[in-house]
């Protein structure tokens, strides 16, 4: 799906990268915790759906060569973060919809879940004690 079409489906606007509206994303990953993104996403060009708007989100998208970031819940990154993403060539979109509804709409329109990556926790018993 093209970013432009995706934006229209979920009522999102481009914060940067509107000129990338023709860019295709076929898979998406939804998470708020950045280490989960680093641990779980396997292929490149994935759409990241997140409510986390810190500057580090863009860094993570760069490391993982993601296709774009879609911020949900009406949360917006700072202008400095938008500017950084513009320089890094990472399109940023934002919608007021919640993550659940955003995922629902995109899933319904054929966006696929990101391919899985083997996790560190796949090799150890769950649940370490928590402090």
């Amino acid at each position: 799906m093209k970013l432009q079409a995706l934006a229209e489906l979920v009522g999102a606007r481009f914060l940067t990268g509107a000129d990338q509206g023709e860019r295709e994303v076929t898979r998406a990953f939804a998470a708020d915790l950045l280490s989960d993104v680093l641990a779980m996403v396997r292929e490149e060009g994935v759409l990241l759906i997140t409510g986390t708007v810190t500057p580090q989100v863009v860094r993570v998208a760069e490391v993982m060569n993601m296709g774009a970031i879609l911020f949900v819940r009406g949360k917006l990154p700072t202008p400095a973060t938008v500017e950084y993403a513009a320089g890094a060539g990472v399109p940023l979109l934002a919608t007021g919809k919640i993550m659940y509804e955003t995922c629902g709409i995109l899933y319904q329109h054929g966006v696929l879940p990101a391919k899985r990556k083997g996790l560190p926790m796949d090799h150890v018993p769950p649940n370490p004690a928590h402090p």
């Binding site: 641990a39 490391v63 083997g118 370490p128 004690a129």
Partner: protein, 158 residues
């Protein structure tokens, strides 16, 4: 172990404690450097992940430190050393899901308890030493020319 091949590149980055605006910039700089040196994309990505996690740990938990990037023909090494509280129980910290992150860090998208596991999983060799009240030292080695396109590196710990 055979003597290491001399470095073709070495660079030291300083990391300031609590710099939540700049955190992640070392990872970006490391990736750029590696790309410019023609390092394999898979290695660049893994080094980016290792560096990001190590850098975030330093920013969130330590009183500051430094990251040294060493590029050799056969490997990339990342050395992290910080001053700070150290890690009381390294075995626990290596367990996925274990986190001592305060609530404010969790609300910023950190503290999923995957920082050190992510570093370890993306390394071919991984060493961590810590002394409570003094600081933590981590050495990550990523071998070049061992291309892995599956994204699964579960055996890295062995």
């Amino acid at each position: 172990m055979s003597p290491p091949i001399p470095p073709i590149h070495k660079r030291i980055f300083l990391v300031a404690a609590g710099d939540l605006e700049g955190a992640g910039s070392v990872s970006t700089a490391v990736r750029r450097t590696l790309r410019e040196l023609g390092v394999e994309p898979d290695v660049v990505k893994r080094a980016g992940i290792v560096c990001f996690e190590g850098e975030m740990n330093m920013v969130l938990f330590s009183q500051g430190g430094r990251i040294i990037l060493i590029v050799r023909e056969d490997r990339v090494e990342l050395l992290f050393s910080d001053r700070g509280p150290g890690i009381a129980n390294i075995d626990l910290a290596r367990q996925p899901g274990y986190s001592t992150a305060p609530d404010w860090a969790r609300e910023l998208g950190f503290g999923s308890g995957l920082g050190i596991p992510n570093m370890e999983q993306n390394s071919d060799r991984f060493e961590i030493h810590s002394r409570v009240g003094e600081g933590t030292v981590i050495r990550s080695t990523i071998l070049r020319g061992v291309h892995d396109d599956t994204g699964d590196r579960g055996g890295a710990r062995a």
